[in-house]
Symmetry: C2
Amino acid sequence: MEPGSPDHEWREDCAPRRVLEIFSSKWTSMILHVLQSRLGGTARTGVLLRSLPGISKKMLTQTLRDMEASGLVSRHVHGTVPPAVDYSLTPLGRRFVEPIELLYGWARDNADALDALAVRPKG
Amino acid sequence: MEPGSPDHEWREDCAPRRVLEIFSSKWTSMILHVLQSRLGGTARTGVLLRSLPGISKKMLTQTLRDMEASGLVSRHVHGTVPPAVDYSLTPLGRRFVEPIELLYGWARDNADALDALAVRPKG
DNA sequence: CTGAATCCGTTTTGATACTG
DNA sequence: CAGTATCAAAACGGATTCAG
């Protein structure tokens, strides 16, 4: 066989690679998941913060800003004291919940394979 | 309702987060995919390089080293001239191909949602 | 051909303290 | 409570050089 031809021409802007970009942002998919688990797909900042052990306030805000710019969530500010802000899934955001739940579902069903992974989470 | 309890206690070492680590490495899942598409789950360095437009030799080698340490691939050196090295999926690696194909399949079926994403790939 | 080892700059992530 | 500023560390990634 002539192995010369790169048949797996994965263009840099192909669909799978675009999806990967969502998962390559450390917190984006987890935020979408938490929002999805809430009635109305909405949660306040503090809820998100407490639902994601390990995230810092800065990364949460930063990631939410990026997600808003991408059209995945919408931001709602209530003019109250003390301040209250909540974030909701947009219709686009709701679509991306699907592959995320698919992936997380596989993970829960295959925890044993993950235990076999020789690499521990960072530490 | 008392909203005080963080019911979505996502421990930092839970299964979904462990899977995310694979996808948060830019090339890991793509390498697994290319290997899976080959008979025997094996490919030589040059094939991988040509199959993944945009990857550099350095990142390929580095990622493959990490994957070997994680137990996802095995490295085989042929004592020939010129040198020949190929990489194969381990049984563990084959398991992780499943969620990857799941995700890529969703991406291919939902390219329209990806087009709607306001954020373009980097450039 | 494979791939290790530099140097270097960019991007991402994160801890901490601070403002309204 | 929500968000910002600052500083630091880590990951990422290209270019180059060297070796088997």
